[in-house]
Every structure is written in C-alpha cells, then in structure tokens.
C-alpha cells in the first residue's frame, strides 16, 4: 500500500501544499518534519489495545470506558485529545464499525496513523451503505443475526471499537490480551 502512496493525486497535492506553505514562510521543512515525527511517536495501536485489555479484565474500567472514552484513556496516561472519544462495544448480538464519510477523522492517539484504506473513497462510501459486504471483503463474515452499527465520525467525535474478548483466553494476563488486539479490530474491520 505504502509503495504506491507517493503516486496518488492526493500525495502530489500534499507536496504542493507543503511547498507553498514553506515558500510563504508559514512553516519550515524542519518544523514540518517535527510535527509529523511527533504525530507518529504519540500514537500507536498498542495504546488502544491496552485500553481494550483493561476493559476485558476490569469490569469497573469497562464501565468507565463506555461512559467516557477520553477519561478512560487519561486513566492510562493517554491523551488528552481535543475531541470526544466514544468507545463502542461488540457483543454476540452487535458489531460496530467506524468510518468517517466526510474525510478521515480517526483517534490517532490511540491507534496510530490511519491505514490508507480508511481514507479511501471506496471504504468511506461503502461502509455506511453495505457494511456486511465490506466486512466480508476484510475476511470478517458475521452471522446474519448480528446487528451492524456503523459510526460516522467527525473531527469532534471519534470512535474506538472494543472487540469481544476471544473465547479460550481466560488464563491470559492483561499484556498477553493486549497483544491479541489489532488496529483493525478497534476500527471494526476485524473481529479482534
């Protein structure tokens, strides 16, 4: 995916925008690099996975996470973010899927940089219209009776999916559980 990213029209536009901003004296090349480095350093899916594993093992934390995602992140030293973070929980009856149809809003401080497909026109337009088919293309085939709820994010309201804890993980500790949780699981395009 990243191999052809530099050839996308959007990447060319971003390069032109960078060049214009630098030429106008709004920012320097070094400052731009620093902003990007900070963005990549601050966010990692390991952060979101820690929250999920804590919710699986601590019912009190799970309740606080579902009530106020931002506060629950702060409990683990994550954030703050300048937007509302909502955690939505998968159950046997309901599967949650996150999209941003208008742009690419995403809780990067908990999940790291968003994947290219999250920003693609195909995902953004199809996730709200035919999520069951989209999930099947990701390899996630849900039972017909499982309800799918799609959350359309905005800059001010972003979502973290709490996957259902896999069967057979009773003996695992929090760190081992966190290692099972994937970025896609927390977007909703994977089971865990």
């Amino acid at each position: 995916m990243s191999g052809d990213h530099a050839e996308l029209p959007a990447a060319a536009r971003a390069r032109q925008l960078e060049a214009r901003a630098i030429a106008a004296g709004l920012i320097t090349d070094a400052e731009l690099d620093q902003v990007l480095a900070e963005a990549y350093r601050a966010g990692s899916p390991a952060s979101g996975a820690r929250m999920v594993a804590r919710a699986w093992t601590d019912p009190g934390y799970r309740e606080r996470l579902l009530a106020d995602g931002g506060a629950a992140a702060a409990e683990l030293g994550l954030g703050p973010a300048d937007y509302l973070l909502k955690a939505v929980e998968n159950t046997a009856l309901r599967h949650n899927l996150v999209v941003c149809t208008l742009c690419s809003c995403y809780p990067a401080y908990l999940l790291g940089p968003s994947p290219g497909w999250y920003k693609s026109f195909a995902y953004r337009s199809r996730a709200v219209r035919e999520p069951r088919e989209v999930l099947a293309e990701f390899g996630l085939r849900l039972p017909a009776e499982t309800e799918i709820v799609v959350w359309d994010s905005s800059a001010e309201h972003r979502y973290l999916v709490v996957p259902a804890r896999p069967a057979g993980t009773d003996g695992l500790g929090e760190d081992e559980l966190a290692a099972l949780v994937s970025r896609d699981g927390m977007i909703g395009t994977a089971a865990v």
């Binding site: 509302l84 909502k86 149809t101 208008l102 709200v128 219209r129 035919e130 999520p131 069951r132 309800e147 799918i148 709820v149 799609v150 959350w151 359309d152 994010s153 905005s154 800059a155 001010e156 309201h157």
Partner: protein
C-alpha cells in the same frame, strides 16, 4: 439548553447549504432517533467563517432501510442541533 432529548425522533434538514457543513448528504431529509447527547461543540458551518459558536451535538441513529431503501444495519452520525428539526 439542549432542544432534543435521547429517544426523540428528528429529521435532518434537507437541501444543500452554500458553504462548509458536516451534515453528510446521505442523511439530509432523513428521519432518525437521538441516541446520545454529546455536549456543546462549535458549529463547523460558522466556525469555518471565524465564528466558533458552540451548540448541542447529538448522536442520531438512522436505519439503513430509510437511508438506502435496503439493509438491516444502522448508521449513527453526530449532528449539530442546527441540522435537525422535529420529525413530523
């Protein structure tokens, strides 16, 4: 003071505004149910013009069947109060 409460049936405004908005096209003119109140946030349509006026934002749940004429899923969108009116 929030105009709508959880459980209220609302209708997203129809029509295409002149400038920036965060009301997705697919939700315009559609009816849904408020499932959460999210506090007050600057209305993007005005904030983009330099007037960051906060107003209530709600999570509104739409049935896929209403949006697309088919499908059994639901779509939840966070919508500013100015985007909504009471369902009739």
């Amino acid at each position: 003071m929030a105009r709508f409460g959880v459980g209220a049936r609302v209708r997203a405004r129809a029509g295409d505004p002149d400038g920036h908005t965060r009301l997705p096209g697919y939700a315009r003119g559609q009816q849904g149910e408020i499932v959460a109140e999210n506090g007050r946030w600057p209305l993007p349509d005005e904030a983009v013009r330099g007037n960051p006026r906060p107003e209530p934002v709600y999570s509104v749940r739409f049935a896929a069947r209403d949006l697309w004429g088919e499908g059994s899923h639901a779509v939840v969108v966070d919508l500013w109060e100015s985007y909504l009116e009471e369902a009739r």
